[in-house]
Symmetry: C4
């Protein structure tokens, strides 16, 4: 009985029942975001919240009950499972409904987004998702390197502009924010350099920024081509 | 007689007459947009509208008359043809002129843009259009995957910012709009996060956004290179 | 004598004298832009303008005198040469100084930028310029196709937004401007959609815009790789 | 004794002591930026500044003492070393603390960022950094060419807009700033063309700008792929 439940949860034999279960979960997750899309909570929102939380609770219960099949550690599995990452995500996405006294807990509900990943994991991957995941997996180190390069560059530019234009940037955080928005070429225009020296730094940053933006594009393209020729 | 007309419409034997017919259609489509480029309708605009609609009506009539050559289903073709996608586009691009009582129907006229595609389809493809179409065709699934990834990411960021900064974003739609404008690095600056937490979310979104923008570039590049080496 | 002059002008035997001549021309071009960088014309600017124009006049004279070596058409060369593209550029870059009665002619002086290209053409190409030129040359058709696709898309979006938000966009030109600034992700924020429907169009445009931006990147990358592997 | 010190400084035999030394230096550099992140200097900032400068002084002393092992020129090394680039960077990053009379010297402290590079140089490279460095090294000329193309294009657009819209752009520097912000698609919106001609120039610039942005992406991608296939 418990083994059957586990098969449904994990989609081990790709059964129709399992696909249905996961689709219902996906639907429950999507629906549970409806109350978050509104500022005011009405009775419909509360109803949706209660029902989706009830479904999540059942799912959490099912998973705890079948923890020994998952972790393969006998009785100890029931002790270890609640501390695994996915179990904590599950718990965090249930809790806010029970502890609904202030709005700051709304944020915790977004943790449910993590559940979406699990559903995708279970419903059999398409070939394309696999290729994309492989590319990101293989180029992980290079992408991390480029990301840390970008962060270092943002920090450097922020230091520079903060020293040059203390009047425009009230705190160092503002300078970091400005540097990020400029490097990524978003450029809202809510904060920008006004002195000549500041504008020169802005120009240099933007141009170097293009090169830094080109790096991940190059890495991903190269990785993607490698993956395609490997498969072909 | 009808077969000859069909050949002209579909450019089956690449005749001069057919090319002329399609160029006239293209010209009629382009000219028919002139009234849409102005807010006020003067007599010249009405004239242009009537003439172009008349041409479109003739074209629609010709195509219905030759439907049996197109669909190859005998008499039934005349029944089925008006419900094919292109026939509906044709009808929609004629109707607004007959039902010209309010301005909201102006939008329907833009459907005529769809006719441009047909003209391009008929005038023999250049090699480059074929390569480009092949690339987009072959990578369709990957591009759709990346697009849905981007949409999911936009939804996630919108949920996050809407919970964190309810004062800046009046409706959830505003949050979605902000997330899209930020991810695509357009950044008009008409709406942006003002709290520290909101700015941190903005920064993370922009940086991850670059990676998401790099994905389609990589996919298209890889597909384009494959296509070129295949031909070569 | 004239043949020698022609060799110097065209750098046929890569002589020191020829390199010097072209460097002096390059210097004269750069210096001649100084008066354009200021709103007000002082005596120094006039002096610079007169000297640089004198140098350009001499260069124009030299080139007319050696036109028969250039065009290889005997006496007729002297008649045809002044109507070649480069000769017209040369003439246009001299004229404004002689006809200096209003400021609108300042624009004509920027034509001198065309002269820079000639200098680059003459001073022996580096390998990299050659590769880059080859890439752009080979992919010219594809790039033109993508450019016309982008222009068509801008026109389509402009028509759409102009019908949906006639209050925001006073003229159709404004709509075209908005569409271009949005598609290229510049997003100054001087003009943007304010209605819900307009914002939805904005979002769709931005996302499709990324794909359109990715196309030239893909084409150039593929062309560049082809060029490198060919050479290697 | 001095040889041992040199080994630690340069991480010649990848010893634990050397790694520790370099990590301490990295930590000192990072910590020394804390006072720069604030506008006002309190006693904690002064303390951090004194301690980090003391560490930098010691490091500078160590490096001068072992200069003969570094430069391999005998006694002359001690004379030459202080004028090497890295030694000047080191000196510049110490000086401001001793000469702390005005805020403009804050900028000099950012020179310390250069020290970070040295630390990275010493702690053994990961494979990915090596690949990235190779790509940038091999494509240096192409990237410089593209960069100078971009600078030329910025200059050209700035000249154009400055002649067309003298009312919007007070100085030529403003025009250069606007051209850079537009080409890189940052588009803060603090300065933009307002006349019709100016907007047409803006649109052309943005579209050509995309191609110029696509060039470095293509170059880096091609270089990266070459590097990967070489290693594989």
């Amino acid at each position: 009985m418990r083994e059957k439940l586990f098969c449904i949860l994990e989609n081990d034999n790709d059964s129709l029942l399992s696909r249905c279960y996961n689709l219902i979960m996906l639907f429950a997750i999507v629906v549970s975001f409806i109350p978050l899309m509104s500022k005011h909570t009405n009775s419909f929102h509360l109803l949706v919240d209660y029902i989706s939380t009830a479904i999540f609770c059942l799912d959490y219960l099912f998973r705890i009950l079948t923890a020994d099949f998952k972790l393969q550690k006998g009785k100890l599995s029931f002790l270890f499972y609640p501390f695994s990452l996915l179990a904590i995500v599950d718990l965090l996405s249930i809790l806010p409904t029970f502890l609904y006294f202030n709005n700051s807990l709304r944020l915790l509900k977004i943790v449910r987004m993590g559940r979406v990943l699990r559903v995708f994991k279970v419903i059999r991957y398409s070939k394309n998702i696999q290729i994309l995941t492989n590319v990101l997996q293989n180029q992980k180190e290079s992408l991390l390197l480029v990301a840390s390069l970008a962060v270092g560059y943002i920090f450097f530019t922020a230091l520079l502009i903060f020293s040059v234009e203390p009047d425009t940037f009230e705190t160092f955080f503002d300078a970091i924010y400005w540097a990020t928005i400029s490097l990524t070429t978003v450029g809202y225009g809510d904060i920008f350099a006004t002195t000549m020296l500041g504008k020169i730094i802005t120009m240099l940053s933007s141009i170097i920024g293009i090169a830094i933006v080109a790096l991940p594009a190059g890495i991903i393209t190269a990785g993607y081509m490698n993956e395609i020729t490997k498969k072909g």
